[in-house]
Amino acid sequence: MKKILVLFAIFTSFFFLAGTNAKACELNNSVPVTSLSAGFDAWKVVTSAMEECGNFTPTLDQEYRDKLVASLESNPSQFTMAGVSASTNVSVLDAGVTRPLDDLVAKYGDSLQDNQKIVIDGKIMAIAMMTNAQHLFYREDILSDLGIDIPTTYDELLKAAKVIKDAGVVDYPLGGTFKSGWNLGEEFVNMYLGFADSFFDGNMPAVNNNDGYETLKMMKKLTEYMDPEYLTSDSTYVQQQFQQGKIALANLWASRAGAMDNAEESTVVGLVKFASAPKAKKNGKPASTLWWDGVVIAKNVTDEEAEAAFKLAMVGLDPANLGANPEAAPWLSNAFDPAPSNIGAILTAKSGAAPYPASAKMSTLHGVLGAAIGDYLTGAATAKATLEKIEADYITAATEKGLL
């Protein structure tokens, strides 16, 4: 009898849950819609709200950039809509595989703010939902125990790292997303923009100079305080190092800040605080780049599918949905106050960090950087040879693409 009662209770709770799920989305979507995007928390928040409207199949993949252009290029497109970042948006724009959204925005986009509209030559081509930037994460308890001020420049950061190392309170003072490839390239881009303003002279590279040299030197100094396996360390790895209390300071993505207080994973709930990305030079700008993430709709789908996709996206990006998960990302919506975990991104933007200079040539250089710098950090190549190799490899790749 008891068993039957328990079973009955379980069943009714299922029905109850299903009932609330159906109610969560007022839109009853009948057109099948698919999406491809990265897999960090913000995308989970947005796509799970969209899933409740029915007929929506999201693909969340951290390596989405590998298949983005190819899958939208086919006709009909493999995905109705896609989540892009400042840089991948350039690739879909250049390939001409996304559609202008002006009509749809006029019809259904009342909840959007102007700063969410990505306007290219007067046409709305994407809807941004959040900003992202790498900024300082620090263990407040460790810094105050050791009497260290929050570092505002990288020189201060190195001093703090030394004090923490000498005190021996954590395994490694610093964490860093130095995994060779895209992550390592991004670290160079961030640091270089703290020293200089431009990577290019026309389409020719201009990193083989003193700023490039300083950037490399600073990166190497940082690695001395990191887990020696830094060349395999990506955002998730650094996030886990923090959560397991193994590191005290790192420049990590704003989209990872919410996870610090996730009691299911983190042993340091409430101890990690956020600040602007440190500056490379005193009086310079923060050594970080500003990114946005948002949605685009494929060109090679029917107007009906595009309309359904846009309506779904508006459900996902509804301020009420985002406001219920403020810690997941620095959302662009002004309808609610940002969560404390978003403060780092806001401070970084306020201190004047540069937007990521997305373009075809930048993507080319980014790839070259990610492949070349590892040898310098491990001591297999000198800074001079590395900068020369970066320029030579860029010129080879750019010539092949027809940029030069």
Partner: protein, 339 residues
């Protein structure tokens, strides 16, 4: 057999081989002499995002009336090969500073070639010798044990290579179980993924572990066909275990050893899974990994098909060169048999 019957029987496989082997090879060869480019134009574009509006001068692909990129294949001769092999840089390194390996390894191709060759030739003897020892051991087991033992030995070979590599990586990376274990025994901090040579040893170990079962199964099958009377005769003549192995068993299964060597050389020259599985690309790269890296689409939505094809062709040439001694040997044997 009549000529027409022969043709009818072989035609399907001939067509298949042309379609799926010869044609793709030809296309790769052609692509290796081309740049696959988008037609580009430099324009002014106004771009508004959450961080403000700006007008920038950028180079973008030209789109046709259907909104697709216009692709252009330009013949460039050996430019792709030059971009990979970098002979000028190589000769300047060798002539100016004497032979300095650290400068040569800054050229990706030679770095990859070095790793690929050491990987191929270091794993080969281990696979053959350990595979043979294993086969000899299992061969003398009592029959009831043979089945289960063979099954267990085959397990590493059944695992998908990438999955196997990943699981070994997770045993050792950061504070993996085995790293912690080693740290406890040796009482010092160990970071196996912080320098190239340790990762290289792990990759070699993994490949040997993964391929031994293949060698073992082949050799074990071969051992079943050894003439028992010959062994007994040798035993009566006073040959010890080692002599029997050297003069009867090994000559008998020599064709199999050559076969295993052949397959293993081809397989390990194409080393790729380990680089990805062990996230080793920051330290060690292989020729196949270079091809993959060139083929990967970057954020601008393009890939280097020309250089990818050129590395493929170079890899193929490399495999042929390595296989020549083995193939010549087999060819000679076939000839002798005919005579």
């Amino acid at each position: 057999m009549k000529k027409s019957t022969f043709l009818v029987f072989t035609m399907p496989s001939f067509i298949m081989m042309t379609l799926f082997i010869a044609l793709p090879l030809l296309i790769v060869l052609i692509q290796s002499f081309q740049f696959n480019q988008d037609v580009l134009e430099t324009i002014e574009r106004e771009n508004c995002d959450p961080f403000g509006c700006k007008t920038e001068t950028i180079t973008v692909p030209v789109l046709d009336e259907n909104g697709n990129k216009i692709k252009n294949n330009i013949w460039v001769g050996f430019q792709n090969y030059k971009n990979i092999l970098k002979f000028e840089q190589l000769s300047s390194v060798i002539s100016n500073d004497g032979f300095e390996w650290s400068k040569i390894r800054s050229i990706d191709f030679y770095k990859a070639l070095r790793f690929t060759l050491t990987f191929t030739f270091i794993t080969l003897p281990f696979v053959i010798i350990l595979g043979l020892i294993l086969a000899l051991c299992v061969n003398v087991l009592i029959n009831r044990l043979k089945g289960p033992i063979i099954f267990i030995t085959l397990l590493p070979f059944i695992i998908t290579p990438v999955i196997g590599a990943l699981s070994i990586k997770w045993l050792f990376i950061g504070d993996g179980i085995l790293t912690l274990f080693l740290e406890n025994i040796l009482d010092k901090d160990i970071a196996l993924f912080s320098q190239g040579w340790t990762i290289e040893i792990l990759m070699l170990f993994y490949r040997v572990w993964h391929t031994i079962p293949f060698a073992f199964v082949i050799f074990y099958a071969g051992l079943q066909t050894v003439d028992k009377e010959k062994i007994e005769a040798a035993f009566v003549d006073g040959a010890n275990r080692l002599q029997r192995l050297r003069f009867i068993i090994i000559p008998h299964i020599m064709p199999l050893i050559v076969f295993v060597a052949l397959i293993h050389l081809m397989d390990s020259y194409r080393v790729f899974d380990e680089i990805v599985g062990f996230s080793a690309s920051g330290f060690r790269i292989s020729l196949q990994w270079m091809t993959y890296d060139f083929l990967r689409i970057d954020d601008s939505g393009t890939r280097s098909i020309g250089r990818a094809s050129a590395t493929s062709v170079l890899t193929m040439i490399g495999i042929i060169i390595i296989l020549i001694p083995v193939l010549r040997r087999t060819f000679k044997e076939q000839k002798e048999k005919k005579l």
